[in-house]
C-alpha cells in the first residue's frame, strides 16, 4: 500500500506548507474566519466574514495576534484585503488556477492548521458573482465553520483559490487564485473595485438564419439595444437603439448577462471593440469602458 502512503504523506506535507500562509481573521463577533497572506503585508479573506471596520486582528501562523486594517473590499466577488505589518511572514505560493480540472484532488485549510479534502466538482457552473470571471470552483468538500476566506490548496500545497461558503450554508465555492490576484492590487490601492459600465439597456433577440449565414455567426442569439443612457460610454461611442450587439471585446454576446460577465474591473478606461448589426449590416464600434456612477 505504498501508493496510498505516498499520497497520505503528500497531503500532510501540502497542509503543512499551506498552513504557513494561513492567518486567522478576527473581524466578526462570533466565529473568526481565515485569511491567506497573498502578498507581503496583504491578507486576503472572504468579505462577508469582515463585519467590523475597526479593531480587527489577525492571528499569524505562529499564534501571535497582530492588528490589521481593511485596505479594500468588494461584496460581489466576496473578497476583502487586510493590511498587516508582518514582513517576516511567508507569502502564498500561488498555483496555476487556470490548470485546475474537474476531479482534481483539493484541500481546504483553516487556521491551526486544520484541513478537509475533496475534489473540484464543477468549474463555473454555479451562480457565482460575475466579477469573479464566472469560473468559480464548486467543491465536493466540507467547509468547516470558520473556513471561509481560507486557501483552497492543490496536492502540491500551492494556493489555487479562496474558499467561501458565500451567503448559503449549502454552497462550497472557491474563487480561483488568478481571479483573486486580478483584484488584490486594485482593492489595496483604491479600497474598492470599479464597476465597469457601458450604459446600455438590452434585450435578447434571436438571430435569423439568413443573417447568421451571411455574417458567419455561430451564435443563435444576441442582444438588441433598447436604451442608451445619456452621457454614457455607449452614447459617446455612438451606439443607437436598435443596434444588435453580437460581440464585445471578442467575446460573443448571446444574452444581456454576457455583457456584464464580458467586462472586468481592470478594463475600466480601456477601449474595446463592440461588433453590432445596424440595419442588417455589420459594424465595429470602439467603446471606452466607463465606471458605473456610484449611487449617492
Amino acid at each position: 500500500m505504498d501508493g496510498l502512503l505516498t499520497l497520505s504523506n503528500d497531503l500532510a506535507a501540502a497542509v503543512e506548507r499551506a498552513g504557513q500562509v494561513v492567518f486567522g481573521v478576527n473581524a466578526r463577533t462570533r466565529l473568526g474566519s481565515t485569511g491567506v497572506h497573498w502578498r507581503s503585508g496583504l491578507i486576503v479573506t472572504a468579505n462577508h466574514t469582515v463585519r467590523v471596520d475597526e479593531d480587527i486582528t489577525v492571528t499569524r501562523p505562529d499564534g501571535r495576534s497582530i492588528a490589521a486594517t481593511v485596505a479594500g473590499r468588494d461584496p460581489s466577488i466576496d473578497i476583502a484585503v487586510l493590511k498587516v505589518d508582518a514582513p517576516d511572514a511567508a507569502v502564498a505560493d500561488l498555483g496555476e488556477s487556470n490548470a485546475v480540472r474537474v476531479g482534481h484532488l483539493v484541500l481546504a485549510v483553516g487556521r491551526g492548521p486544520c484541513a478537509s479534502w475533496g475534489v473540484v466538482s464543477a468549474i463555473g457552473a454555479g451562480r457565482g458573482p460575475r466579477s469573479a470571471g464566472g469560473g468559480l470552483f464548486s467543491l465536493d468538500l466540507t467547509l468547516y465553520p470558520g473556513f471561509s476566506g481560507g486557501p483552497l490548496v492543490n496536492a502540491q500545497g500551492q494556493v489555487i483559490g479562496v474558499n467561501s461558503s458565500g451567503t448559503s450554508r449549502h454552497l462550497q465555492l472557491a474563487i480561483p487564485s488568478a481571479a483573486v490576484t486580478r483584484v488584490v492590487d486594485e482593492l489595496a490601492r483604491r479600497g474598492r473595485l470599479a464597476r465597469p459600465y457601458l450604459g446600455v439597456g438590452t434585450q435578447p433577440v434571436s438571430l435569423p438564419e439568413a443573417l447568421r449565414q451571411r455574417f458567419n455567426l455561430e451564435q443563435q442569439t444576441a442582444v438588441i439595444v433598447v436604451a442608451v443612457q445619456p452621457d454614457s460610454p455607449a452614447a459617446g461611442a455612438g451606439l443607437l437603439m436598435g443596434d444588435i450587439i453580437v460581440s464585445l471585446g471578442g467575446t460573443s454576446i448571446t444574452d444581456p448577462g454576457d455583457l456584464a460577465s464580458a467586462l472586468r474591473p481592470d478594463q475600466v478606461g480601456e477601449a474595446l471593440t463592440v461588433s453590432v448589426l445596424r440595419a442588417g449590416e455589420p459594424r465595429d464600434i470602439r467603446i471606452t469602458v466607463g465606471e458605473r456612477p456610484r449611487r449617492p
Binding site: L11, A12, V15, C114, W117
Partner: protein
Amino acid sequence: MIELADLADHLRRVTVEVMDGGKSLGAGVLWPRGCVVTNAHVARRSVMEVRLVDGRRLEGRLLARDGSADLALLRVAGAGVPAAPIADSDAARVGALVVAMGHPLGVRGALTAGIIHAIGPITPGGRAWIQADVRLAPGNSGGPLADASGRVMGLNAMVAGALALAIPMAHVERFVRAAGVEPP
C-alpha cells in the same frame, strides 16, 4: 484504486460487530490475547455478542468499562482470532489520509475515507481527539480509524457536525493496560 480495496479487506478482518440480542450496537477492534476494544456506549452489558467478519459469533465478556473515557474491553473465546496492528497515534499529521471501518446504519464492513482535520480538543480544555474529515454514522462507534498502511490510530467514538472524533490509540492502550491486559 485497488489499494483502497486491499486496505478495506485488511480492516474488515480486524473489525468486529458488537451485538446484543441479535441487534447491532456498533463496532469494535480486535486486540491481542483475544480481546476487543470498543466504546463504552456500545458495550453496555457484561456479556455481549461479537460477530467476526467470517460470520462467527463469539461471546464477549466485559473485562473493563470506563464511561467517561467511553472505552470498554471485552474478552472473546475463540481460536485463530487476529489482532489489529496499532499505529503510533502521536505521529498523526494533519492532512494525512485516514479510513474508517464500521457498520454505519447497519451496512456491514463499510469503508469511508478522508484526512485528519486536526488533533486536539474541540472545545478549550476538553479531551484530545483525532478529528477526521471522514463521514461516520451510527454503527461506526468503536470501529477503527486507520492510517494509509492499515494501522489503527484511533477508535471512532463521536460525530461533531461533519467531523469524526476518534479516541487516540495512546489513550486506548493506557485503558487496556490499566485493565490488566498487556499491550501488543
